[in-house]
Amino acid sequence: MAEQHIPKNTHTTPPMRVKVKILRYNPETDKKPHWETYPVEAQPSDRVLDVLNYIKWYVEPSLTFRRSCGHGICGSDAMMIAGRNRLACKALLRDVVKDGGTLTIEPIRGLKVEKDLLTDMEPFFDAYKAIMPYFINESPPPAGERLQSPEQAERMAHSSNCILCACCTTSCPIFWVNGSYLGPAAIVQAHRFIFDSRDEATNQRLNIMNQNTGVWRCRTAYNCTEACPRDIPITTIIEEVKRAVMYQQS
């Protein structure tokens, strides 16, 4: 039945049979989280999100997770899939489990689990808001655009690519033990403005980065870089911010 409901890719291949093992939790009825396993037949090219939707729509309707765009741009469906943070809509089944195998899906870590795979995102967005995540240039703008060279624009090409999915921050071991650390996503956002040639609040943001909740907490574990579904070189970006803080302080 599975393949009937799940959109097929252009490469027609035999379906896979997998066990999907999901960490479930409903605080209204459960004392603590517990694993539930659902056997699923699906195409190797199906997204993990397709599999979750299949379970929700046809097997266990109470299964709860966030999702929206379904193709990796809205950042709603970050979860820990096969032991690594990924977006469910960007992880294809064949890349995360073998035919006949078991696929584990858990909520991202370090944020309170509200229900099943859905976590409280407020602390994550609070950290985002703490870095002044908005363009600041109080001088009167010209009639047309402010000029910026392609090279200057390129400086923030990676950091402006962030979709705030939280895959990075919730894969960071420092964040797990110390929730006051602003975390990789907030630093990426700070980088986007610090390295914007048009922005005038660089010093203020570097001061925020220099606080004990800022960049110096990073121990270059590289988990964030590996987790990023947008291939942002996050650890490199954090290093660039560290260097900028050092230059400012010296």
Binding site: T10, W57, P61, T64, S68, I73, E114, K115, E145
Partner: protein, 583 residues
């Protein structure tokens, strides 16, 4: 719980965020309700750019943009809206840049621009570089930038609140009722003015570029009150969705030189649009692709796709200016645009129709000038009508900015002039009844099955090519699905984060949108823009140069009443007479 704000914005995509910013500039209290988190809104999925006659790369004029928009809309576009738009969008793009939006740049440091479908110089002579872009993630940058500005401004957000009702009494909007996903509680929001900007409803189709959350909630709520939806028969299928998945592949690939090819490797658009070829407007390209497939020149295992060929472009263009779609093709199809042909097929993309508004976003209650005081709409949810029978690529982002701004400004202006109108005694009553009927409903019908049948039947019967008998059958199918919907089951009784309940509620909204669309499409016996009738293949200006207004008959369930509204055939300084639409 009860809240009170001068201006309340529903939806936090481009239009809603712009409206919230501009309402706040008007010196009134503002809140924004969204059923997602703002940065999850589908504006972020827009890729190719925002059209404005900046002339950074090539000579360009707003008059050319106005003309292209009207011709692109197959002359159903209201020309006053097109004129305001083509002028305002120039400043609006500069305003986005002043907000810090990281546009791609020309070597001189100006905003970069590229070609896009249907955008031409000198009234149709050749393609022009008008689309201002930030790589191929322009929508992402617009969404992020506008959210950032709202954070800066201190806008109050109510995230993951689903609007369940609009409170309209004696012709005036008094607020909304909303369901809080986290708690299951009902909140009432008392407001002097409300701006609706909650997006489209592409999920009524099986293959769509739209997010799972685009279910037409607010259009349906408006329609359930006996108020009209305008031009619902005009629904755009984007020519290039990833095969089988429908995920958007920007028109920017053709703007950068990508070529559509059939199974014989032929550049077939040369036959359909000899002048601008692959850069013809979307309705024409989508029909051309389906014609190729029907005539046996499709590709893929089911021969139901065609190829987009980028292999002649330099790697740095593909991986730089088109990074997003390169990643999508590699991730989902395992096809690398640098060296492979990528399989695409048309995908349900954008509603030209929606809640009718005037030029300032004020919601209209009929086709004769009636309106709802204090209620505004903008963006895909609204029909101003800028896009007429077919929207040009890039004009959706422009629409959000220009008309989101106007709606926010008008709402604040109105709110400053009036006192709060009284809320009725129990404004939440109908919402509570609807939600409690759904929560724990023990019927035998599955929302997922009804939804799937709706999506498949809409795709087959009210898709790119339409005809009377198929659509008449679809009217019956929808009536039957609505009947079954009354027996839908919701097994999860919980209050907190009850996503099963939400999906069931959204299905009800989708069924209404499908009903209004099908009735409007069956009624219009001509072909115009995106509405193509095999049984009425010609455009018929004598009888059909008018907007459709579809009303739910509140006295007879399932019946849709059709009215009309005149097309504004003149702008303020320019007017373009309807002509045959060739490219």
């Amino acid at each position: 719980m009860h809240h009170r704000f001068d201006v309340l914005v529903v939806g936090a995509g481009g239009a809603g965020l712009m409206a919230a910013l501009y309402a706040a500039k008007g010196g009134v209290s503002v809140a924004c309700i969204t059923k997602l988190y703002p940065t999850r809104s589908h504006t972020g999925a827009a890729q190719g750019g925002i059209g404005a006659a900046l002339g950074n790369v090539q000579e360009d004029h707003w008059e050319w943009h106005m003309f292209d928009t009207i011709k692109g809309g197959d002359y159903l576009t209201d020309q006053d809206a097109a004129e305001v738009f083509a002028k305002d969008i120039i400043d609006a793009v500069y305003e986005l840049e002043h907000m810090g939006l990281p546009f791609s740049r020309t070597p001189e440091g100006k905003i970069a621009q590229r070609k896009f479908g249907g955008h031409t110089r000198e009234f149709g002579k050749a393609a022009v570089e008008r689309s201002c872009y930030a790589q191929d993630r322009t929508g992402h940058m617009i969404l992020q930038t506008l959210y950032q500005q709202n954070v800066k401004n201190g806008t109050t957000f109510y995230n993951e609140f689903h609007v369940t009702d609009l409170i309209i009494e004696e012709g005036r909007c008094r607020g909304v009722v909303a369901y809080h996903y986290a708690t299951g509680e009902i909140h009432t929001f008392h407001a002097k003015a409300v701006v609706l900007a909650a997006g489209g409803y592409g999920r009524i189709f099986k293959i769509t570029s739209n997010a799972l959350t685009l279910t037409g909630d607010l259009m349906s709520i408006y329609y359930r009150k006996g108020l009209p939806l305008e031009d619902m028969e005009f629904y755009q299928f984007h020519p290039t969705g990833l095969a089988k998945l429908g995920i958007l592949v920007t028109e920017g690939i053709r703007g950068e030189g990508g070529i559509l090819r059939n199974s014989e490797g032929e550049r077939f658009m040369e036959r359909y649009a000899p002048t601008i070829k692959d850069l013809a407007p979307r309705d024409i390209v989508s029909r051309s692709i389906i014609t190729e497939i029907r005539e046996g020149r499709g590709v893929g295992p089911d021969k139901d796709a065609v190829h987009i060929d980028l292999t002649h472009l330099p790697r740095e263009v593909i991986e730089g200016k088109l990074a997003e779609i390169t990643d999508l093709a590699r991730t989902y199809l395992g096809q690398d645009p640098v060296k492979d042909l990528v399989a695409i097929q048309p995908t349900a993309h954008y509603a030209m129709g929606g809640i009718p508004t005037d030029i300032n976003g004020l919601c209209l209650s009929d086709g004769a000038g009636g309106s709802i005081e204090g209620l505004y709409a903008a963006g895909e949810q609204a029909c101003v009508s800028l896009h007429g029978a077919n929207r040009l690529g890039t004009n959706s982002l422009g629409d959000l900015i220009v008309f989101g701004r106007r709606a926010g400004t008008a709402a604040a202006q109105y709110a400053r002039q009036v006192e709060y109108a009284d809320m009725p005694a129990a404004p939440e009553r109908e919402s509570v009844a609807m939600l409690e009927a759904l929560r724990g409903a023990s019927g035998k019908e599955s929302a997922a099955v009804i939804r799937r049948e709706l999506q498949e039947s809409m795709m087959n019967n009210v898709g790119i090519f339409r005809n009377g008998p198929d659509m008449a059958r679809q009217v019956e199918i929808i009536a039957d699905l609505k009947d079954r919907y009354r027996h839908v089951s919701v097994s999860d009784p919980s209050r907190r984060y009850n996503s099963e309940l939400i999906e069931a509620m959204e299905l009800g909204f989708m069924l209404d949108c499908a009903e209004a669309m099908t009735a409007s499409a069956l009624n219009r016996t001509e072909s115009r823009g995106a509405h193509d009738r095999e049984d009425y293949p010609e455009r018929d200006d004598r009888n059909w140069l008018k907007h459709t207004m579809a009303y739910k008959n509140l006295n007879k369930p399932g019946e849709v009443l059709i009215g009309y509204k005149d097309v504004a055939l003149k702008g303020y300084t320019h007017a373009f007479e309807p002509k045959a639409r060739v490219y």
